[in-house]
């Protein structure tokens, strides 16, 4: 990928420049390139500044009390810092509990989704069977379906079998793989050399063991990408939990945020602190999986 990036650059001065091209032309070309680069960086810096402002503002507001929050003129650096906001949110506002719920749901989703989606993708990428391509198109097509269409009848079904206000409606469907993740795994598996599976097979290794011992160990990049995306998806999911989890006991972090103002009246700095807390795990996770995610997007883009 890097060399692709480098190539246009080496083209700035064409290798086969005719002798007629004088030094002045080249200098003008260089200064133009430098000007262009400066403009590029200036535009990007301005945009990033705009992008970062709300987040800096958020952190600043999360460290204030209500009076400081509404004070004009605005104070970017709060004095004094109210670090208690964070401990209050976590302990007094039950956020420890919500974080716990969200965390185990997300970890469950990651583990189960990696296993089930890679299992299914292995079937799609290493076996030939009638209707395979058509079925894979169906996998892709399900990504277009708005989940809400199904949610309504699933909700009624879960209500009949007494699953409302339990975690089952969020846990059970994950056992069957998810379309986007199946797609990512399949694309990746297709790029793995088949010779290794062949060799394993000749040595008497069954397909199940091939999946577990040969394919998965080679798939670290895509596993990390799927892990990050699945975690983020589960961490921020609101619609499902909002409908299925009705009791306070089972609230996830997004639900805790949604219902935030209920107990202690308006306490915006606390809400800001709660938002900061809920944004930290995604940022950390991205930082950890960063070098794989760019490639993962490249995998996803190949249609």
């Amino acid at each position: 990928m890097q060399d692709v990036l480098d190539k246009p650059r080496s083209g700035d001065v064409p290798p086969a420049a005719p002798a007629a091209r004088t030094a002045t032309v080249r200098r003008r070309r260089n200064s133009r390139a430098r000007w262009e680069l400066t403009a590029r960086i200036a535009a990007l810096s301005l945009f990033c500044l705009l992008l970062l402002f709300p987040f800096v503002w958020l952190v600043s507001q999360s460290l204030k009390d209500t009076n400081q929050y509404f004070a004009t003129p605005f104070e970017w650096i709060p004095s004094p810092f109210r670090w208690e906001n964070f401990t209050d949110v976590i302990f007094k506002y039950e956020f420890l509990h919500y974080i716990g719920n969200s965390l185990w749901l997300a970890v469950y989703a990651v583990v189960v989704n990696i296993l089930s989606s890679s299992f299914v993708a292995y079937g799609f990428s290493r076996f030939r069977f009638p209707g395979r391509n058509a079925l894979f198109m169906v996998v892709l097509a399900t990504m277009m379906l708005p989940g809400q269409v199904m949610t309504i009848s699933l909700y009624r079904f879960y209500r009949e079998i007494g699953w409302i206000d339990t975690f089952y409606p969020l846990l059970i469907p994950k056992l069957f793989g998810a379309a986007f993740e199946i797609f990512l795994f399949r694309q990746f598996f297709l790029s793995l050399p088949r010779e290794v599976d062949e060799a394993a097979r000749i040595d008497g290794c069954g397909t199940l063991r091939t999946w577990w011992h040969i394919i998965l160990p080679q798939s670290k990049p895509v596993i990390i990408v799927v892990a990050v995306f699945t975690f983020l998806g589960s961490w921020r999911e609101l619609f499902g939990p909002l409908i299925y989890l009705t009791g306070e006991e089972n609230r996830t972090l997004p639900l805790g945020l949604l219902y935030f103002t209920s107990p202690f009246g308006s306490s915006l700095p606390m809400l800001m602190a709660a938002i900061v807390i809920s944004l930290i795990p995604p940022v950390v996770l991205y930082a950890l999986g960063q070098k794989y995610i760019d490639k993962g997007v490249a995998i996803a883009e190949i249609k």
Binding site: F127, D197, L257, L271
Partner: protein
């Protein structure tokens, strides 16, 4: 794989479940099962529900297409929402695609710090959800406290009442669209991957032929990037049609139960928030199911429109595109 197994088949009598085809089905069976249970079955059930009406005692009555005709012809709230959605989806898609593409083009050059910019732009798009929705609700707060108004005051503009303006309820929708500026990083990254996939020799050739930057963009980048543009546009449309957290957060004052979840004069109503209100607040499942199918139909129509436009206006170099 199949070649080897074909050679071996006569020698080794294989059990039926060892056959390649059977094994393939076994491996995809979890998805197939899940698709039937959590996809096909609820889809059919939802369609049946959309043709019925249940009263408070949950006795279900078949009403034919009543729900659909009521939504489409006799529901002023839905009419407002359909208008909202049209503006929101078009505005947001323009931001996602236009801004995403511009940012990708700016980053499509190797320079020191490129990586930092890319990360800063991409990360917010991973944070989208109720947390950022509440953050932007404070950003677009009326009065001098809101960050958007603080920014505008630098240019001497009076504070704007964004989310509850009785004279200009549409300002809430504008705020809702503007939030997408912060989440253009997702499309940006896919555009960047697409740009990197264009063989450098094409740019080289255009340069040797004396193409300027604009010509280069029009004649080389844009046509070769068109499959990625189409892909991104379709994905952006689907995502924007299903917008939920931000309008819900913008509209609610306090918990979800207080205030109109569709915003002041329904100015923040979207398909999914309306579906949520009808289905899960008022428990009118038939109506909500019909809404879901109308939303699905709208998705298909818009996707079809994009694909049709793409076919009309772009020349695919099909040989090179995978």
């Amino acid at each position: 794989m199949s070649m080897v197994s074909a050679e071996q088949r006569p020698r080794l009598k294989r059990r039926w479940w060892r056959r390649e085809g059977v094994q393939g089905y076994l491996y995809i069976s979890p998805w197939l099962l899940g698709f039937l249970m959590f996809g096909v079955a609820p889809l059919i059930a939802a369609f049946m529900t959309s043709l019925s009406k249940a009263n408070v005692f949950r006795t279900i009555r078949f009403v034919g297409t009543d729900n659909y005709s009521k939504i489409l012809t006799d529901d002023p709230v839905f009419a407002t929402i359909a208008g909202n959605m049209l503006i929101y989806v078009i505005g947001s898609t323009i931001i996602s695609i236009g801004l995403g593409l511009i940012l990708a083009l700016l980053l499509f050059k190797d320079f020191r710090g490129n990586h930092v910019f890319r990360t800063l732009i991409y990360v917010p798009s991973l944070l989208v959800g109720i947390a950022t929705a509440y953050l932007f609700k404070q950003v677009f707060r009326g009065g001098e406290v809101g960050l958007a108004n603080m920014f505008l005051s630098l240019f001497g503009t009076e504070p704007v009442n964004w989310l509850g303006n009785s004279e200009k309820p549409w300002l809430a929708l504008v705020a809702l669209i503007l939030v997408n500026v912060w989440f253009a990083g997702g499309t940006m990254l896919i555009f960047l991957a697409g740009l990197k996939g264009i063989p450098a020799s094409y740019f080289e050739a255009a340069r040797v032929d004396g193409a300027g930057p604009w010509q280069m963009f029009r004649k080389v980048t844009l046509p070769l990037l068109s499959p990625v543009i189409v892909f991104n546009t379709v994905m952006a449309l689907i995502g924007h049609i299903q917008v939920f957290e931000t309008p819900l957060a913008f509209a609610n004052s306090g918990g979800v139960a207080t205030g109109n979840p569709l915003g002041y004069e329904n100015s923040l109503g979207t398909f999914v928030t309306y579906l949520y209100v009808k289905g899960f607040v008022y428990q009118d499942m038939g109506y909500a199911s019909a809404l879901a199918f109308i939303m699905f139909a709208a998705t298909l129509v818009l996707t079809g429109l994009v694909l049709w436009l793409a076919r009309r206006f772009t020349a695919y170099g099909d040989a090179d595109q995978n």
